[in-house]
């Protein structure tokens, strides 16, 4: 259900900023390590968007990876999941990034 809360938060934030606009595309960033499933957000966005300024809008989602910093060998690598394993085999890894949920931008219809 937290994807529903995420979708509702996206819609509320956009509605607050541009209540009179007709939004056609929403660019959303969902980090791969955020614990949020993009497909479920899409599903909820469609339902929760009915009757709001984003009704019928397309949801364009990008999924940035996180970065793992290995304490054993000192290298940094791309972390695509929360259980990141360094290429050297170590699990002593600190992960940064990849957990953010951000509304990057919206595209607004030109006729309003």
């Amino acid at each position: 259900m937290h994807e529903l809360a995420v979708a509702e938060s996206v819609i509320a934030a956009i509605n607050t900023q541009m209540p009179d606009s007709r939004v056609v595309v929403v660019h959303l960033e969902i980090g791969r390590l955020s614990g949020v499933m993009p497909d479920a957000v899409r599903f909820c966005f469609q339902l929760a968007g009915e009757g709001t300024c984003v009704e019928g809008a397309r949801l364009d989602i990008t999924e940035p990876d996180g970065t793992g910093d290995c304490a054993s060998c000192g290298t940094s690598f791309t972390a695509r999941g929360p259980l990141a394993l360094c290429p050297c085999g170590s699990t002593d890894v600190t992960i940064s990034g990849g957990a953010d949920l951000t509304i990057k931008a919206v595209e607004v219809a030109g006729d309003v």
Partner: protein
């Protein structure tokens, strides 16, 4: 849990979507850059809760676990043991019923029950409303017993001082690996129902390894809320907050 949107861990859920883009057409207008955190409103409210609590010297703890791992039993015992010296109140989150609030009231805590209905987590606005109703005294402790769920509550800051995660030995040693977000965000991990260890197949070492793979250095306290084993360490930890 959460059949509507499928937030059950990282396993893929197939969702058949209606055809996109009907209605408005695409990209004929202009782009407005927002760069805004999706949960900014919740985080803002959580920040206000934290400031409100901080001004009054109130320590709030966000208690999270699966259903049935012993949060309410632990709180009953904690209230009974500590409340003579330290005012304790409880915000009790459940989808339905007043059962847990009745238990904690009987144990001696002022309690407000939040029923989330279809919702599977508490958020900062629910906690703000509950704090207003509860009016905890200055310098007191507030336990926020979240809805039993190892997935959704991990995402929502409530304004707490610390996040306490419980696991019971009947749940299996692989819980941290299955629900990594919850364990990564924990400030302390309580391993409950240790009195049942002789009767269940629970690999304590594997549990510790899994936990520290996600959160190196996370403190694990073995306890039994039923017979009281390990609770002194829990009370010491609370006293140091």
């Amino acid at each position: 849990m959460c059949e509507t949107c499928g937030c059950e861990g990282d396993t893929a859920r197939l969702t058949t979507l209606p055809a996109p883009g009907h209605g408005h057409g695409h990209g004929h207008g202009h782009v407005v850059t927002l760069d805004q955190k999706v949960l900014a409103r919740n985080d803002d409210l959580a920040g206000r809760n934290r400031a409100w609590l901080g001004e009054r010297g109130i320590v709030a703890l966000n208690m999270m676990s699966s259903p049935g791992s012993g949060k309410t039993t632990l709180l009953e015992r904690t209230v009974a043991d500590l409340s003579p010296d330290r005012p304790i109140s409880v915000i009790e989150g459940d989808q339905e019923t007043l059962l847990d609030a009745a238990r904690l009231t009987a144990a001696g805590a002022r309690t407000v029950q939040v029923n989330t209905g279809a919702g599977c987590h508490l958020d900062a606005s629910m906690v703000a409303e509950a704090l207003t109703a509860l009016a905890p005294p200055d310098g007191s402790t507030v336990f926020i017993e979240n809805v039993g769920n190892l997935v959704c509550p991990a995402l929502f800051d409530l304004g707490e001082r610390a996040r306490v995660v419980l696991v019971s030995v009947t749940e299996g040693a692989d819980k941290p690996l299955k629900y990594p977000h919850m364990f990564r965000g924990a400030d302390i991990l309580l391993l409950n129902k240790t009195d049942l260890l002789p009767h269940v197949d629970f690999d304590t070492e594997a549990f510790q390894d899994a936990t520290h793979r996600l959160s190196p250095g996370l403190r694990i306290l073995p306890i039994s809320a039923t017979n009281g084993d390990g609770l002194e360490a829990w009370y010491d930890w609370l006293a140091d907050l």
